[in-house]
Amino acid sequence: MTLLGLDTSTAASSACVLRADGEAFDVTPPPDRLAGPPRHASELMPAVASAMELAEVRWVDLEAIAVGVGPGTFTGLRIGIATARALATANELPLRRVSSLAALAAGIRENASAGLALPLIDARRGEVFAALYDGPEAVWPPFAAQPEALVTRLREGGFKPLAAGDGSLRFRGMLQEAGIPVEPDGSEAHVVSALHVCRLGLGMPDEPPGAVLPEYLREPDAKPQQ
């Protein structure tokens, strides 16, 4: 099947078209994009349009849209999901939800064929969104934690996974001190690749667009606007 995938869980906006013939056209930015301010509104739709153009695919050729639902930056996730839903509605396509941490773990596995993957997305306020994967299996489902608590939990479980993602870049020192290896700074494994969103999307069920919501993992701050 031919599908479009996208992810906006970090500062990067990524999009990819995976064609039915297996060819992938991935517009995922390089890892240095993670350090800049998020600009999903101005970067996501151009990325989607270029992936479609590169793949020489028209809207009517798509059979589903896969979207990274986080966890990650709240505003980014909403931009990605609102975009995916409207694209799906306008073309009468189903949506498929993909965990952004699962997509990140898939990228880590490409670099470390064996062993455990620890995808980490920066959750701000000194926390990370984390999960632990053994192959495609989630040993720990996604959760939010302070890095100290994460390191303790790993030590208690006797896990030494390979970490990647903007959360691992932020807390590299603490992780490495605890014996958790982190992908080198320039590694593409730090970016949630839309290609992996597409691939994981192949195995997910179809959902009506309006049903797909972000995986926030955190209650909203109840502070009124002043």
Partner: protein
């Protein structure tokens, strides 16, 4: 037909409007009560609800208009000013909807929407006119020579008029939103019982923050008695707000030589304000309440006067909490 989408504050709105200004549908999903217990709009909660509602509200607007996406020629969307996270939900949805169909997109200034709300419907106001917009989020006077633009003549320097109603209602122990509550109670009271300040900063600007402090002091001074004088307090407080709005509007009409007046924003639903502006000597347009409060029909309505962006020129369009 124009499909309008508006998510700048706490109402998720979609509407279908014809090029002729006919409103085919105007759907507003209000989150007002959700925010009431926090005493104001909580941006993150508003953004989450916009995302939950935007698909259904848009589908509802199309259905009520008896239209399908195929019938939509242009998509219009609010790109600012407002809560940035809230704006981005509607903007992202609108951009993707337009892009997937190769439709033109019109980014609309939310305030421009309020200003042209009276140009919609059966009896549209025709430019040139003067416009008073007063709501929980904004209070300003604008001059409209051509409907594609407006010129702000004066605005509030602190609280918006609707905010003054909300804060006053809270001080009086009334419900939220405060405007209708004070309006109701004021009918039983004496508007001259208390003399609250009508501050007059700048020639055509407004200021309401001192008024709410004056009400607070009056309530404190009355002590136990405040409860039995609530109607008088509400009536006097409302009179002070309405007087300030009407006096500035009168001054603007005289200075600009305006021949027509339109009012908009949620406070335009206030009965005393409606009565006061009717006395200003020029014909007044007051749109129905669903065009006064935040809505998408006014956004689609404003888009009729603006130049659309063609696909793919709007793909990188961003929202802005403040517009230049």
């Amino acid at each position: 037909m124009i499909l309008g989408i508006e998510t700048s504050c706490d109402d998720t709105c979609a509407a279908v409007v014809g090029e002729d200004g006919r409103i085919h549908s105007n759907v507003i999903a209000s989150q007002g009560l959700l925010h009431a217990r926090y005493g104001g709009v909580v941006p993150e909660i508003a953004s989450r609800h916009h995302l939950e509602l935007v698909d259904a509200v848009t589908a509802d607007a199309l259905e009520r208009a008896g239209a399908r996406l195929d019938d939509v020629d242009t998509v219009a969307v609010t790109h600012g000013p407002g809560l940035i996270g809230a704006l981005l939900v509607g903007l992202s949805f609108a951009k993707a909807l337009a892009a997937a169909r190769g439709l033109p997109l019109v980014p609309v200034d939310h305030l421009h929407g309020h200003v042209v709300a009276s140009t919609l419907g059966e009896d549209p106001v025709v430019a040139p006119y003067l416009c008073l917009v007063a709501s929980g989020g904004h209070t300003f006077l604008a001059r409209v020579d051509e409907p594609f633009e407006y010129q702000v003549l004066g605005q509030t320097l602190d609280d918006a008029a609707g905010e003054a109603f909300d804060k006053g209602a809270r001080l009086l122990g009334l419900g939220y939103p405060g405007g209708p509550e004070i309006d109701r109670l004021a009918r039983e009271g004496d508007p001259e019982a208390f003399s609250f300040p009508r501050s007059a900063p700048g020639e055509l600007d407004f200021s309401f923050s001192g008024l709410k402090t004056a009400l607070l002091y009056a309530i404190r001074e009355l002590g136990e008695e405040a409860h039995s004088r609530a109607a008088d307090l509400a009536a006097s407080y409302q009179r002070a707000i309405v007087d300030a709005l009407a006096a500035r509007t009168r001054a603007a009409i005289e200075r600009e030589g305006a021949v027509r007046l339109a009012i908009g924003g949620g406070v335009a639903a206030n009965s005393e304000l409606r009565a006061a502006v009717a006395e200003l000597g020029v014909p007044v347009w007051v749109p129905p309440v669903e065009l006064c409060t935040d809505n998408a029909a006014m956004i689609a309505g404003a888009a009729r006067f603006l130049k659309p962006l063609r696909y793919p020129d709007y793909l990188d369009l961003d929202a802005a909490a403040r517009l230049p």
